[in-house]
C-alpha cells in the first residue's frame, strides 16, 4: 500500500520498515496539476492534499501539523476517511526533551496506524537496514547537489522521495548563469516549470531549498549521530534507546524548516550554503495562503542582504507569463539587460 506524506519530516524509513510504500505527496503525478475549487483564504497546497486524499481511496495519507492549514484540512475530511488518514504531530520546538518525546510518541502511533493498514512491526535490524539505505541515498544526493542542473536535481530528489532510490544522471555542464537560491514551501512536480523559467531567464538555481528539496536531505554534519556502515557515518544505536526514539531524535536534530520555533537553524543552514555557492538572489517560493513563508521575506532580505523575489505557486497556466516576467525582471535587475 502507498502511504503519502505531506512533509519530508515524517520518516519514510519508518513507513518502509512497516512494509508499506512511503511516497512524498508533492511528486505524485496527479498532485496539484489542475486548478481546484478553492474557498477564500485556503492554501492551494493544503487544498490539493485534501482533494488528493479524497480521490486516492486505496492509499493512506499522512497529514502533518506543521502548518495550520494542513491540520485543519485534515479536520475537514477526518470524519469521512478516518481509517486511512493520519495526522502526525510535528513539534515546532526542537531543543527540549518534551519535543523529542512527542515526536517519538507520534512514531509509535504512526506504527500502530501502519499495522492496521496491514503493515508489520519492524525488527530493529530491519529498521536499521532501511535507515542505512535512506541515509546513504541522502548522502549521494547531497554530494550531487552542485553537479546537476536544477531540473535534474529536482528529479533526482523526487525519485528519492518517491521510492527511496537514487538514480543520478551524468553531471550537466555549468553555464555562466546567475546563481540563485529557490527557498520556500513545497514545489510539486506540477510546478517544476518554474525551474525552466529561471534557467530560460539566465538564472541558475544552485540551491533548491524548497520543502522537499536539498533541505530535506539531512546529513551527518551537525548531528549527534547518523546511520549506516559507510565511513564517516555512525552506526545505528539500537542498544541505547528504543529504535523509534532514536529515529525521533535524529529527525528532530536534523529538521530544517520554517515552522520551527525558533527557526534559527533554517537561517544557519541557508547562510552556510548561500555563502559557499555565491548566491546573488533569493526566490521565495510560496503558496498564496502560506503565512509561514511569506512572513519570512523581509527577514531573509535583512539577514542575507540579498534581493528577494516572491514567487507564488501558479494555479493556472494563464499565470505563467506573469511569473516569467517577474523572474526575467528580477534576474535582469541583478545583471543588467541581456544582449
Amino acid at each position: 500500500m502507498q502511504v503519502f506524506s505531506t512533509s519530508p519530516w515524517v520518516p519514510p524509513e519508518w513507513i518502509k520498515a512497516h512494509g508499506l510504500e512511503p511516497r512524498g505527496i508533492w511528486f505524485a503525478g496527479d498532485f496539484g496539476g489542475a486548478p481546484l475549487p478553492l474557498a477564500a483564504g485556503v492554501c492551494a497546497f493544503a487544498n490539493a492534499a485534501v482533494r488528493f486524499a479524497e480521490r486516492h481511496v486505496d492509499s493512506a495519507v499522512v497529514f502533518t501539523t506543521h502548518c495550520d492549514q494542513l491540520r485543519r484540512g485534515f479536520d475537514m475530511i477526518a470524519g469521512s476517511y478516518g481509517g486511512r488518514l493520519f495526522l502526525f504531530n510535528l513539534p515546532a520546538t526542537w531543543q527540549s526533551a518534551a519535543a523529542e518525546r512527542i515526536f517519538a510518541s507520534e512514531l509509535e502511533r504512526l506504527g500502530r496506524f501502519l499495522v492496521k493498514l496491514r503493515g508489520h512491526l519492524p525488527t530493529a535490524k530491519e529498521l536499521a537496514a532501511i535507515i542505512t539505505q535512506y541515509s546513504l541515498a541522502r548522502k549521494r544526493l547531497l554530494e550531487a547537489a552542485c553537479d546537476l542542473s536544477a531540473r535534474q536535481y529536482a528529479e533526482a530528489i523526487a525519485r528519492f522521495h518517491w521510492d527511496g532510490s537514487v538514480n543520478l544522471p551524468s553531471a550537466s555542464e555549468k553555464t555562466g548563469s546567475i546563481p540563485l537560491a529557490l527557498v520556500g514551501g513545497p514545489l510539486p512536480r506540477a510546478q517544476w516549470h518554474v525551474l525552466d523559467l529561471i534557467e530560460g531567464a539566465g538564472g541558475g538555481v544552485v540551491l533548491n531549498a524548497t520543502e522537499a528539496g536539498e533541505r530535506s536531505l539531512w546529513c551527518v554534519a551537525g548531528a549527534r549521530g547518523t546511520w549506516g556502515s559507510d565511513a564517516g557515518l555512525v552506526p545505528f544505536k539500537t542498544e541505547s534507546k528504543g529504535t523509534h526514539e532514536e529515529l525521533a531524535r535524529l529527525y528532530l536534530d536534523n529538521c530544517i524548516d520554517v515552522f520551527q520555533r525558533p527557526n534559527t537553524r533554517l537561517y544557519a543552514w541557508l547562510k552556510e550554503r548561500l555563502t559557499a555557492r555565491q548566491v546573488r538572489g533569493l526566490l521565495l517560493w510560496h503558496y498564496v495562503g502560506c503565512d509561514l513563508w511569506r512572513a519570512e521575506a523581509q527577514s531573509l532580505r535583512e539577514t542575507f542582504g540579498l534581493p528577494v523575489l516572491l514567487l507564488e505557486a501558479n494555479e493556472t497556466a494563464s499565470d505563467l507569463p506573469r511569473q516569467a516576467g517577474r523572474i526575467e525582471a528580477f534576474i535582469e535587475s541583478l545583471t543588467g539587460p541581456r544582449t
Binding site: 501539523t65 485543519r72 520546538t93 510518541s105
Partner: protein, 459 residues
C-alpha cells in the same frame, strides 16, 4: 442613582456621567469620563459605539481602556512585566501567582487599529516591517513593539508554538528576528488518546493522551523556572494552587455572568460589554484583583436588572451564537441594532472560561486546561462544544466571524457550520469583519438581517 438600562452614545454618557458624579458616583483610581479616552489616547472608535449605561459598565470600560497606563505604572513601581503570547489564558495564571509580576497579552494590540480607527498607523507600519494586509490584524502587535507607544516592553516574552495559528506564529517569529527574544514553548495539537495510551480528562469534557499532558506540564515547569527567576522567588506548588484558586474566582464570576445574560429571555447586558467581560478571563486585563471587582459589579447589575425584568435587548431579538471575536467592536452593537442578541459565544478562548481543576497537582491542572484550548484541537471538537452551547442557549442562528487573514479561518467556518447545520438544523452565516467595518456596513447589514429573518421565519 439608577436609571432603566439602555445603550448610550459617548456624548450621552458624558451627560449621564455628570449626573452620576453629582449623585456621588464612587470610582476606582482609573475611573473617569469615557470621553477622555478619545481626547487623550485617540480611541476614536468610542465615538461610534453604544455603551451600557450602568456604572458597572463604565468601570469595565475604564478598566479596559487604561490597561496600558496601568502597565506603565506597574513598571514604574518596580514590577516586572511578562508578555504572554497566543495561549490565551493559561500562562498568566502562573505569572500572577508570583508577587511583583504582571502578565499581559501583546496580542491584544490587534484591537488597537479598531479603537484608534487606524489613526495609530500600526497596520501601515506592520506593512513596512514585512507583514501586509494578507496577515491577521494581530500584525499590529509587531508595530506596537517596534514603536513602543502602546504598551511597555515586557521583561520576558513567552509564546506558545506548535498547534497555533500560522499567522500569529509567523508574526511572533518576525518579532524575534527584530530583536525581541522569545521563549517558545510547545503546544501539541490535541488529539484523542488511542489504546494503549493512558487518557487524561480535560476541562470542557475533552480528553488527551498522557504524553501530551506530560509534554505541556514539562514546558510549564520550564516556564515556571523563568518566571521564578524574573520574580526573584520560587514558584512553588502552594503559590500556584493559590493562583489557580484566584483564577477560578474570576472564571466562576464569568460563568455566572454568562449564564445570567445568555440564559435570560431578553438580554440584560449588551453583547459588546459581554465580549469585553469575557476577555478579562485571559489575563485579567493586567490586574487580577480588580477583575474580580469589575465582574462582581457587572454581575450584581445584571441580577438586579433581571429581578426587575429590565433589559437592553427585547425578547423578540433573534438568539445568535457567535464564533470568533470581531476585529471591529462596533459589530457587536450593530448585530443588536439589526435585531439579534448573543445567547452564546466562542471567542477562541473557551478554555479560559472553564474551571481549572483544583484537585490535581497545579502544573498538571494547568497543562490540562491549556490543552483544552479550542484552537489547539480538532475543529470538530470545537464544533461539538458549540453545538452543546447552542442547545443550552436556545440559539436560533449561528454566525462565524472571520478574522481577515487568519490562517484558522480558512477551513474552520465550513466545518463548524456543517456540524451545526447537521446537528441542530440552524441557519448559519460566515462573514468577515475588518478592523473598521464602516465601508462594509451595507453588505454586513443585509447579510446579518437575512440570517435573522431566516431564523425568525422558523419560529
Amino acid at each position: 442613582m439608577k436609571a432603566p438600562p439602555r445603550k448610550l452614545t459617548l456624548e450621552e454618557w458624558e451627560d449621564w456621567y455628570a449626573q452620576l458624579h453629582r449623585a456621588g458616583l464612587c470610582e476606582p483610581p482609573y475611573g473617569g469620563r469615557l470621553g477622555r479616552h478619545v481626547l487623550l489616547e485617540s480611541d476614536l472608535r468610542l465615538r461610534h459605539l453604544r455603551f451600557d449605561n450602568s456604572p458597572a459598565a463604565l468601570r469595565l470600560w475604564n478598566f479596559l481602556l487604561t490597561e496600558n497606563q496601568r502597565l506603565a505604572q506597574a513598571r514604574a513601581q518596580g514590577e516586572k512585566l511578562v508578555g504572554t503570547m497566543k495561549d490565551l489564558g493559561t500562562v498568566p495564571v502562573m505569572a500572577y501567582a508570583l508577587p511583583g509580576l504582571r502578565a499581559f497579552y501583546p496580542d491584544g494590540a490587534w484591537w488597537t487599529p479598531c479603537l484608534m480607527e487606524c489613526s495609530d498607523g500600526l497596520l501601515q507600519q506592520a506593512e513596512t516591517l514585512g507583514l501586509d494586509a494578507s496577515f491577521c490584524p494581530v500584525r499590529a502587535m509587531l508595530a506596537a513593539f517596534e514603536n513602543g507607544q502602546h504598551f511597555p516592553r515586557p521583561d520576558l516574552l513567552l509564546c506558545s508554538s506548535g498547534a497555533v495559528c500560522d499567522d500569529f506564529s509567523a508574526i511572533a517569529q518576525r518579532l524575534e528576528r527584530m530583536g525581541f527574544p522569545i521563549e517558545w514553548w510547545e503546544m501539541p495539537r490535541r488529539r484523542l488518546p488511542e489504546p494503549p495510551e493512558r487518557a487524561c480528562a480535560l476541562p470542557g469534557g475533552l480528553s488527551a493522551p498522557e504524553v501530551q499532558v506530560n509534554c505541556v506540564r514539562e514546558e510549564f515547569e520550564r516556564i515556571g523556572r523563568l518566571l521564578s527567576e524574573l520574580a526573584g522567588q520560587p514558584l512553588d506548588g502552594r503559590a500556584l494552587a493559590s493562583g489557580i484558586h484566584e483564577a477560578n474566582r474570576v472564571r466562576r464570576l464569568l460563568a455566572a455572568l454568562r449564564q445570567a445574560v445568555y440564559g435570560a429571555a431578553a438580554a440584560p447586558l449588551p453583547a459588546l460589554e459581554m465580549l469585553i467581560a469575557e476577555m478579562l478571563a485571559i489575563h485579567f486585563c493586567s490586574d487580577r484583583e480588580e477583575t474580580v471587582t469589575v465582574l462582581t459589579d457587572l454581575l450584581a447589575e445584571v441580577e438586579s436588572r433581571l429581578q426587575q425584568r429590565q433589559f437592553v435587548i427585547p425578547e423578540a431579538a433573534v438568539r445568535l451564537f457567535w464564533v470568533n471575536p470581531v476585529a471591529d467592536l462596533r459589530v457587536m452593537n450593530l448585530l443588536e441594532e439589526w435585531g439579534g442578541r448573543i445567547c452564546g459565544s466562542d471567542y477562541m478562548f473557551t478554555h479560559a472560561l472553564d474551571l481549572i481543576p483544583e484537585d490535581l497537582p497545579p502544573l498538571e491542572a494547568l497543562a490540562r486546561i491549556a490543552l483544552a484550548d479550542p484552537m489547539v484541537g480538532s475543529t470538530l471538537d470545537r464544533a461539538a462544544r458549540i453545538v452543546a452551547e447552542c442547545r443550552a442557549g436556545r440559539a436560533e442562528a449561528l454566525v462565524v466571524s472571520r478574522i481577515p487573514g487568519a490562517s484558522h479561518c480558512a477551513w474552520e467556518g465550513d466545518i463548524i457550520r456543517r456540524v451545526v447545520r447537521e446537528e441542530l438544523g440552524l441557519p448559519t452565516l460566515e462573514l468577515e469583519v475588518p478592523p473598521i467595518c464602516d465601508a462594509l456596513l451595507p453588505t454586513l447589514g443585509s447579510r446579518v438581517q437575512a440570517l435573522l429573518e431566516t431564523a425568525k421565519a422558523k419560529r
